[in-house]
Structure formats: structure tokens, C-alpha cells
């Protein structure tokens, strides 16, 4: 059973739950203690050992339900048995109830029935009526004719393992794997047996032939469902990873709306990584101030003669970051991700204040404090993105609003294409910002060679910034914010 557990863990990893080998060992210990008998207990126990954040717990819940869902099969099969036999009334009723009770299996029994009837119509089966049936011979046939499905399910799981089902990568392979599993279960023998039985002159044998054929079709459905589920567990994430890699490099303005959610997840993850790297606050030593008590304490061991001195140290405050974003049409898409990134870094940069403008500038910090990031961004874009770009006006507004609060610990990030519609660029204000702040960084979503084409004022502005960077993909963003943190933290 340890293999089941490792497969389950592989599936969890695929679903982005981080699990270390040490935790795998813990899980095995826990399973050793708890056992596989009580499903709810097992789930509770593994939920304590494997996922370590609230998000991961949610993922764990769904993965667990998908992965350990063999009961569905049992429910279905009884239902089919009941229908097929017709006379076996109580068994059938029970089976139906069970099939409905287990949420996951709802869709499938219907499907199974339909295909069964379809098959019956196609070949115009002779009506043999109920009665005795011959004994099935091949192993698979015997399994199929059995009452319970536990053994059949187990055989299927084994066959899936033989066929390396966990290696499934793309959805076109589903048919192939279904076939492989059926073969491994002994389909060839079964087909031969059915053919022989149906050609037989004796009624009980023909009857068995019919029944077996019906159950074979049903088995195919089962296997297909099983493959489908495994595909979702194992392969979905591989494709997703490819997509994520691509999305990181693609120009932010080209990202389609349907990928926003995914991007957001990537941004959060990148930001988290950065946050982990930089959340350590540096200590700065105040030179010349003796930490008397600590010095005394440490010099006790030297007979109280003080020669190992200790100085007072302070922890540096986290940096203040002002983000000024051009949210006019051309840059809006970038502003969205930049804001998302900055606010995802809350943990290391709690003092982000953000301003949005297209012509007039306003502070949107509060919007972000009160709303979820996505909502705040949407609101910002809605409220401020109208109007033609006017950097001069925006700078003027900024000076009026909070130039006083810019000090030598402040980093100002400006995101914009510097396309000023031939207005007054007001470089004097930018210079003032440059003089007062620790750093001014200009991020321009256009590529460097178009920076000075047309109405762009980048040449004038670059004189008054510490750093001007091209920034139009997540990879850029990640690098720049990383540098920023290194420089200011």
C-alpha cells in the first residue's frame, strides 16, 4: 500500500502542494498508525501531515476525494448488476441508492446504461429470457460475473500500474491507455470466449455470452472513467506548467483575459519567493553607543574586566515605496500587474503607497487597504484610466499631495511610457523627487529603442532617475523588484 501513498503524494505535488521526503515519511508513519480502513480518519490524519497552509488544505481535499474514489465504481457496478438481472430486485434497489449517494458517481451509471441499451439495439439480440447460465472460463470473465467489484477494481488498478498510467501526459493518450489497461486485464481471452459462447448451440452458453458482452462494454466505460480521473490528477499539471513558463515571458499587454487568474497565481508565488528572500531585516550598528548591560553580561566570564565590547544596534525600518502608475490605455495592462506585484509583497514592504494617473493623479493606497487586490486594481483602472496622458499635471499633483513625505528612505517607482502628448514634461518636479528620495526607478513597458520616438519624453526623464528599465513581462518585473528589495532593504 505504500505505493498508493507515494502515488497520492505525486498527485498532490502535481497539484502544487509542496511535500518534502521527510513529510512523506511522516505520512507513512501516520498511515501505519491509522490504517486505510476509516476513510474520514485517514483523510483527517493526512491533512495534518501533508498540506501546511490553508490553501494547500483545500487542494488536498479535492485531490484526496479524486484520488481515493474507488467507492464510486462499486456503487455503479451494483446498479448495473441490478438492472441487468431484472429479477434481482433488492440488490438492484440497494445499488441504485448507493450510486446516488456517492456524489462522484452520479453521471456515470446513466452512461453505462445507455451504452448497454445502444449495444442491444444494434445487434438485435435474441431474447433468451432469464435462466441458468454456463460457467465463465477466463479469469476476466469470472471477475466480471462476480457480485462484488472489489476484486475487479483491484485488478484494474494493477493493470493500470502495469500500463504506467501515471506517466500519462496529454489527453490524446487517453484511448491508448484505456486499451492498454483492458489488454493487461485479459481482454483478448474475454473476446475469444464471448465469440465462442455466442456461437454455441446451447442456450445457457449463449445467455452467458450476451451477459458477458454487456459487462465488457460496461467495463470499458469504467476503465475510461478511471483513466480520465488519473489524467486529471497526473497530467493536468504538466500542461499547466508549460503554460506558466510561457506566460512568464510573454508581454503583459498580450495576456488574454482568461489567463489573468493564472497570472495572478504566478505573481503571488513570485512575490512570495521574493518576500521570503528579503524578509530578514538587517541590523545596523549605531557606532559609538555602548550596550552597557549586554557588555557587562558578556564580560562576566572574563572576571568582570571589560574588554569585549557590545554596541547598540537597531533594526532598520522597512523601506517606504511610492508607486506612481500611469493607468492610461496604453499602459494599463502593465500597471495592473505591477500593482499586483507590489501589493503581494506586503510582508516585506508594508509601506507601499500607490498613485494612479492618466491626467490627474490621485492616491489609491486606501483602495488597496480596503479591498482585495483584484477588486482594487479593477476599481483603480475604472476610475482613473480615462483622459489623455499628462505627466506634467501628474507630477504637479504628486508634489502638492505628498512631496513632503518623500525622504531619503523613500523609493519612488514610476511606471509609464513617458508619452506626454507633447505637453510640458515638468522635469523640474521629477528632479525634486530625485533629489529628495533615495531612489527613483522608471519602468517603461516599451522596448528601449522606441523610448524616444514620437511624443515620448524618456530622454528628458532618464536624466533625473537613478535607474530606467524596460519592463514588460513577469520575468522583468520579478528581476526589477528583486533588485529593488536588495537595494533598499
Amino acid at each position: 500500500m505504500d505505493r498508493t501513498l507515494t502515488h497520492f503524494i505525486a498527485a498532490l505535488r502535481n497539484a502544487e502542494v509542496r511535500i518534502s521526503p521527510a513529510e512523506t515519511l511522516d505520512a507513512m508513519n501516520a498511515v501505519g498508525l491509522v490504517g486505510y480502513r476509516d476513510r474520514a480518519f485517514l483523510k483527517d490524519s493526512l491533512a495534518l501531515v501533508l498540506p501546511k497552509t490553508a490553501d494547500e488544505k483545500e487542494t488536498f481535499d479535492t485531490t484526496f476525494d479524486q484520488f481515493f474514489s474507488f467507492e464510486d465504481l462499486a456503487g455503479q457496478s451494483v446498479a448495473v448488476d441490478g438492472d441487468g438481472d431484472g429479477e434481482d430486485g433488492e440488490g438492484g434497489g440497494e445499488g441504485q441508492g448507493q450510486g446516488e449517494g456517492l456524489g462522484g458517481g452520479k453521471g456515470s451509471p446513466g452512461k453505462g446504461k445507455k451504452s448497454k441499451y445502444a449495444a442491444a439495439e444494434e445487434e438485435e439480440e435474441e431474447d433468451l429470457g432469464p435462466g441458468a447460465m454456463a460457467e465463465p472460463r477466463s479469469a476476466l470473465a469470472r471477475l466480471l460475473m462476480q457480485e462484488g467489484t472489489t476484486e475487479l477494481t483491484m485488478r484494474m488498478a494493477e493493470a493500470a500500474e502495469e500500463a504506467d498510467l501515471t506517466q500519462i501526459q496529454v489527453f490524446t493518450q487517453k484511448g491508448l491507455y484505456t486499451r492498454k489497461i483492458m489488454d493487461a486485464m485479459g481482454l483478448a481471452d474475454l473476446v475469444r470466449e464471448i465469440a465462442e459462447l455466442r456461437a454455441s448451440p446451447q442456450v445457457p452458453e449463449r445467455r452467458l455470452g450476451q451477459e458477458l458482452k454487456r459487462r465488457r462494454d460496461w467495463l470499458r466505460e469504467l476503465v475510461r472513467d478511471y483513466v480520465e480521473r488519473q489524467f486529471l490528477l497526473h497530467a493536468d499539471a504538466t500542461g499547466r506548467r508549460l503554460r506558466e513558463d510561457l506566460l512568464q515571458k510573454v508581454k503583459l499587454s498580450n495576456i488574454e483575459h482568461r489567463n489573468f487568474r493564472l497570472i495572478q497565481e504566478i505573481v503571488l508565488r513570485m512575490a512570495k519567493k521574493l518576500a521570503a528572500l528579503h524578509s530578514r531585516r538587517r541590523k545596523v550598528f549605531k557606532r559609538g553607543q555602548l550596550h552597557v548591560s549586554r557588555t557587562l553580561r558578556h564580560n562576566m566570564s572574563y572576571d568582570g574586566s571589560i574588554f569585549d565590547l557590545h554596541w547598540k544596534s537597531v533594526k532598520v525600518d522597512r523601506p517606504k515605496v511610492f508607486a506612481i502608475c500611469d493607468v492610461s490605455g496604453s499602459v494599463a495592462a502593465y500597471a495592473r500587474f505591477m500593482l499586483m506585484f507590489l501589493y503581494s509583497l506586503e510582508e516585506v514592504m508594508p509601506k507601499v503607497r500607490s498613485f494612479a494617473f492618466s491626467s490627474d493623479l490621485a492616491e489609491v493606497t486606501e483602495l488597496f487597504e480596503r479591498n482585495k487586490i483584484e477588486d482594487a486594481i479593477a476599481k483603480t483602472l475604472r476610475d482613473y484610466s480615462g483622459g489623455s496622458t499628462d505627466y506634467g499635471q501628474a507630477f504637479q499633483d504628486f508634489r502638492k499631495l505628498c512631496m513632503d513625505e518623500v525622504d531619503n528612505r523613500t523609493t519612488i517607482i514610476i511606471l509609464g511610457d513617458a508619452r506626454n502628448n507633447y505637453g510640458d514634461p515638468r522635469t523640474d518636479i521629477l528632479k525634486e523627487m530625485y533629489d529628495r528620495s533615495k531612489r527613483v526607478i522608471w519602468l517603461n513597458p516599451e522596448s528601449r529603442n522606441t523610448w524616444n520616438v514620437g511624443d515620448a519624453e524618456m530622454r528628458k526623464y532618464t536624466a533625473y532617475v537613478h535607474q530606467a528599465e524596460e519592463c514588460n513581462s513577469l520575468v522583468h518585473l520579478n528581476r526589477i523588484v528583486g533588485n529593488l528589495l536588495r537595494a533598499v532593504a
Binding site: 509542496r18 518534502s20 501516520a30 480518519f41 495534518l48 501531515v49 501546511k52 553580561r297 562576566m300 566570564s301
Partner: protein, 322 residues
């Protein structure tokens, strides 16, 4: 020890005995304690404030009849306050004593080399257990029959401190450079760590712990909790106030009321001899469950709707919002 083993025999027996100690817990919580005891692993408890994280540790200690050693974490907490410290005063005195006996020890020694070797022969107890002042973590390891160790609000401590914890959490031992390694006695402590999620706990720490997330309870569980904590409250009022609180949690609030607030409110209402909720009463006592003026103002408009809904006997009123 037999008692503990008996109690921790199954999840159900744990649940029952928690209940006997007036702590109503879900299966998940009982399973966590069960695994913590049997796998000898610390439990990291996360969840919104006021859902009974600290209480779980306290109740566990009470239930197992073990001493509870608690370490409240805060920014700047270091090993001197958490693990051990030297008794400087006594060490200083010791050096004085040593100075006086030095002449005796070195008497007749020829040359510097011999003096030094004489000094080495002389037992050095300057850094020894005699002068060690154990702090909570070390104390917990030295506890003969085991104990419950509670590291409250680990997320408030620094990263360095988290690293300090790793050794004690994975191997139940502490290394003191001057002495060596101190291992736990026969029974290692049952360790609980709580976190309010003010910052992300490092992966290394999480890896060594079982992770228990305690969410707000559902209506049924909350009713049972109130019943256990405020047994005198009439059942009907209990149902009403729990319904009210559950609905309140769905609103956009700065600080959502937790179980502790529900309990406080239940006590308040009991004190006021209330029999049934009504809007005016709710308005007057709202400051017991909501801790921000802004929240109180926001909720004000909804009070009538929420109260009516809670008072309705079936508990599921029409979903009309003012």
C-alpha cells in the same frame, strides 16, 4: 503515564475527554492531538484569532494532567530568554572564590607550563549545569514525566528564533556549546505552536510539524461550545445568538467575531437576563462582539434584518438584505 495512553487510545476517547474538560472539538482537532502523541510530533496550529488555539494546548495539559510550560513569543525573543542563560552573578562570585584558592592550587608549581597543566587538572565548573539558568524550552526538556509545551504566537518572533526552534522540534534536544547536548527525558514534551498568520512561517519549521488549521466552527459546533462554556444560557437564546454571529461572519468586517467573542456575548446576555434577541438590545451590546467603531457602524444598518432572521424559529429566514 498509563492514564495518558488510555486517553490517547483512540480519537473518540480523546474527543470525549476533551468534552469532559469543556473543550468541544472537531474530529480534525482530536486527530491532531492523537497523531501528535503517537508520532511524537509538534503541532503547528493556525487559524483566525479567538478560535481556541491556545485553549487547545491548555486543555490538553489539563486533560493529561501534565504541567503546561508556556513561552509567549515576541519580536526580539532570543535564546537567552527562551532556552538558557548563565547565572552571571553566581559565576562572578565563583571567580572571586577561585581567585582566593588560586594560590593553593598553584602552590609549588614550577614555571608557566606546569601552572597551566595544574589549572587544567583543577575541575572547571565555570560553565556547568550549576550555573545554568534554564528557560522554558530547556525546562520542558528536563521535565521528568513529560509536559505540554506551548509556543504561543510563533509568527511574532524573528526568523532567527524560528531556526533556533528547529533542533528542539525535530529531535527534542538542545545543544549548549559550553556543555553539550541536552536531550529530553523519557517522555518528550507534547509541543503546540500557535500562529495568527501575521507572517509566513518558514518551510523548515512547517516541515517538522503537523499542521492544524482551526477555522470558525459551524453553527452546530458553536452551539455546543457555548453550551459547554456558558451552560446557564437558555437553549433558544443560544440558538439565536449563534445564528446571529454566523451571519455576522459573512459580512465584510475588519475583525470578524470569534468564538471567544460569542462566549463573551453569551455571558453578557445572561447577565442582562435576556430571553430573546431584539434589535435594541443587540445594538447596545454590539461592542462586546465587534471591536472596531467602523465595524459597528457598518453593521448598524443590518441589525434589524439579522436579528429578525435569528429570532425566527426555523433559523432560515428569507435571504433579504437591507
Amino acid at each position: 503515564m498509563a492514564d495518558i495512553e488510555q486517553l490517547a487510545e483512540s480519537v473518540d476517547s480523546l474527543k470525549d475527554s476533551f468534552e469532559a474538560h469543556r473543550y468541544i472539538c472537531s474530529d480534525q482537532i482530536a486527530t491532531a492531538v492523537y497523531l501528535a502523541y503517537h508520532l511524537r510530533k509538534p503541532v503547528l496550529i493556525e487559524g483566525p484569532p479567538g478560535v481556541g488555539k491556545t485553549e487547545l494546548a491548555k486543555t490538553t495539559a489539563e486533560m493529561f494532567a501534565l504541567p503546561l510550560i508556556r513561552l509567549q513569543c515576541y519580536e526580539g525573543l532570543d535564546e537567552a530568554k527562551a532556552i538558557y542563560e548563565w547565572k552571571y552573578g553566581k559565576q562572578l562570585l565563583y571567580t572571586q572564590v577561585l581567585k582566593e584558592t588560586l594560590d593553593e592550587v598553584l602552590q609549588g608549581a614550577q614555571g608557566f607550563a606546569e601552572s597551566v597543566s595544574r589549572l587544567h587538572e583543577f575541575g572547571d565548573i565555570f560553565f556547568s549545569e550549576e550555573f545554568l539558568e534554564p528557560r522554558p524550552l530547556l525546562k520542558a526538556l528536563r521535565e521528568e514525566d513529560g509536559c505540554v509545551l506551548l509556543l504561543d504566537e510563533v509568527d511574532k518572533s524573528d526568523h532567527e528564533f524560528e531556526s533556533l526552534l528547529l533542533e528542539i522540534l525535530s529531535d527534542f534536544q538542545v545543544s549548549i556549546p559550553e556543555i553539550g547536548t541536552v536531550k529530553a527525558h523519557r517522555e518528550p514534551p507534547i509541543v503546540f505552536l500557535t500562529s495568527n498568520n501575521t507572517r509566513e512561517i518558514s518551510d523548515a519549521l512547517k516541515r517538522r510539524c503537523l499542521h492544524l488549521y482551526i477555522p470558525f466552527p459551524d453553527a452546530d459546533l458553536e452551539q455546543r461550545i457555548i453550551h459547554a462554556r456558558v451552560p446557564d444560557i437558555p437553549p433558544e437564546l443560544r440558538r439565536q445568538l449563534v445564528t446571529f454571529i454566523q451571519d455576522l461572519r459573512d459580512l465584510d468586517l475588519k475583525k470578524v467575531p470569534a468564538i471567544s467573542e460569542t462566549i463573551d456575548w453569551a455571558r453578557t446576555l445572561l447577565l442582562l437576563h435576556t430571553e430573546s434577541l431584539d434589535p435594541d438590545l443587540v445594538r447596545d451590546t454590539l461592542n462586546v462582539i465587534l471591536k472596531f467603531q467602523e465595524d459597528i457602524e457598518n453593521v448598524d444598518a443590518e441589525i434589524a434584518t439579522l436579528t429578525n432572521k435569528a429570532v425566527r424559529t426555523d433559523g432560515v429566514g428569507p435571504k433579504v438584505r437591507a
